[in-house]
Subunit: 335 residues, 2 copies
DNA sequence: TTGTACGCGTTATCAC
DNA sequence: GTGATAACGCGTACAA
């Protein structure tokens, strides 16, 4: 039995009766090859079913036209839309996107960064600013441009395209308080290694004390990301004595879980308790009651991120953090 | 200004005072290097911040420990859970997953396949069996194992891990008819290049004629994948004279759109019209009324797929198609 | 246990 | 327009 061996530039060159240099030129700068030769090469390539070897190409040219993105989760919708837009924009510029996910684990994120870098990505998209300085240094040393999305922090080491999580949640919280709520509950993703979650919690605390309420009275539950975990947290928080009149959720997915559990427990939202979300993913306008939430321009963010990273990859200097506007989306889950 | 150059095996070797071969051995088979040498090399690697060059490694070893997956969409939740499980399982085996999306376009899928192959993936996960024989031949020629998921088709060219879309939808349709429905509407993804969608539509037609109804009476609308498109289709279908008493949707996302539009139009589900879905993604149990749908074991499918592909990549022969069980999930959107 | 030397498939620099 | 040929960074016989 003879195992098949992929054909190479050399094979094509032989079959076409030209040199490897010419085939390479045909591939990269066809306009510098005569029509006659072009046809011969094309023919040979088709017959052999030749495809360039990526590894070799990278080694010889030092450029991969590949961008890597590491997102906390692909399983939930939060990043999907933004990443899709990011990829689409990149595609128009001739770049390929490699997506990896870290399961919200800094350790895994670091691994993934190293993997993608050793794979020769030309640039990297990361979510949020929370990561060890060591790995940021590593990127700097390797000369790999990295861009942060979904966050906005003046003075951060890496350039970014994102929004001010603190201000955005602050606006929502202020609106909540303006409705007269005094007993506030909050369900958040883990804040320890997640600057977005942390900023949102801090914002609520801040607005609370700003309004003369006691920030430490905030009933906060931190939990994994998911509908089920949101449901569990809701039940815990609502069954305390003197339960909150409103539960602010750190994102729409947790809020959807809360809504679901409320329904299961026979608690009516917003009559018995109000619920809010953050992100305005599709889910938010499908659940009932529809979620009052903060609209994040995911598509725009993805597109802008692609452009910025493209600039960086082409040697342009980093710009100051780019801030995108978010918008309160008032619907029916909060009264 | 001196631009940074990544350190190489050679640099490490020099700094450690050993040969490149020894450093390479340290990296790949540390047990064959003496403790003393190991320490020296380790030291040098840390000082220089060395990371192996992936391209070079691939060229020399012919193995990338990388698996590619091409899914129709990353923006919607259908594939997310399965792919996450796929990745997790792969990770435990030391493989990295590269995900690309085709936007349900066979042309783009083909491009992506070629891109991933030229990047040296060891194996490929594809969704469904619908694709040109040319590209399948290409994979065979290149000796890249490919596994199909989300579908089950005896006699198909590629091995698969999936479920029988025809049988599953047939079961649901039979149940629908048993409830007494006579006027059936259906909203489906485009069937032309999507074997899963096609099988589901055919199943409904089949059950219709099996029950003595006229299969050609099925009010069918095919549309793009999405909540909004589902909503639009629902409105079109429901505003005809003699509208259906039940609308079978090809997937949960379309069904969610239908539900949303029903709500907007003041049509009550299931009192005025029943709606069913397919997939049982999170969405299905969050919308109200909760969706009657077909539960697909996404996680299990992803995990099994990872294992099968791993076998293939390691040179084991393909197994016959693996069929996973699906399950009718009876909830509130159908009476 | 360690080192030498070659090959992997491509691009880029020169000549021609 | 085209052809030699030297890199690129690593793995691996083979030799020592």
């Amino acid at each position: 039995m003879s195992s098949y061996l992929a054909s190479t530039l050399n094979d094509v060159a032989q079959k076409a009766g030209v040199s490897t240099a010419t085939v390479s030129r045909y591939l990269n700068t066809p306009e510098r090859v005569s029509k006659r030769t072009r046809d011969k090469v094309e023919q040979a390539i088709n017959v052999l079913g030749y495809t360039p070897n990526f590894g070799a190409r990278v080694m010889a040219s030092k450029r991969t036209y590949t961008i890597g993105a590491i997102i906390p989760t692909i399983e939930n919708a939060i990043f999907a839309r933004g990443i899709q837009a990011f990829q689409d924009e990149l595609h128009t510029k001739g770049y390929t996107l490699l997506v990896a996910s870290s399961s919200y684990d800094p350790q895994i994120e670091e691994e993934q960064i190293r993997t993608l870098v050793s794979r020769g990505v030309d640039g990297l998209l990361l979510i949020g600013h929370d990561r060890s300085p060591k790995i940021v240094d590593f990127l700097e040393k390797k000369n790999i441009p990295a861009l942060v999305a979904w966050a906005h922090e003046i003075g951060a080491k890496l350039p970014s395209v994102g929004f001010d999580n603190f201000a955005a949640m602050g606006e929502l919280a202020r609106y909540v308080l303006s409705l007269g709520h005094k007993r506030i509950g909050m369900i958040s993703a883990w804040t320890k290694t997640n600057d977005r979650a942390r900023a949102r919690v801090m914002a609520v605390r801040h607005i609370l004390s700003e309004s003369g309420l006691n920030a430490s009275d905030l009933k906060l539950i931190e939990t994994d990301y998911g509908i089920e975990t949101g449901a569990v947290a809701f039940e815990q928080i609502i069954q305390r004595p003197m339960p909150p009149t409103v539960i602010i959720c750190g994102n729409d997915v947790l809020a959807a879980g809360a809504l679901k559990q409320a329904n299961t427990l026979g608690i009516e939202v917003p009559r018995d308790v109000s619920v809010t979300g953050f992100d305005d993913i599709d889910l938010a306008s499908i659940v009932s009651p529809r979620l009052t939430t903060v609209h994040v321009p995911h598509r725009d963010m993805g597109k802008r991120a692609a452009r910025e990273l493209h600039h960086l990859v082409n040697g342009n200097p980093p710009k100051p953090p780019i801030e995108l506007k978010v918008e309160l989306k008032i619907r029916n889950s909060l009264i």
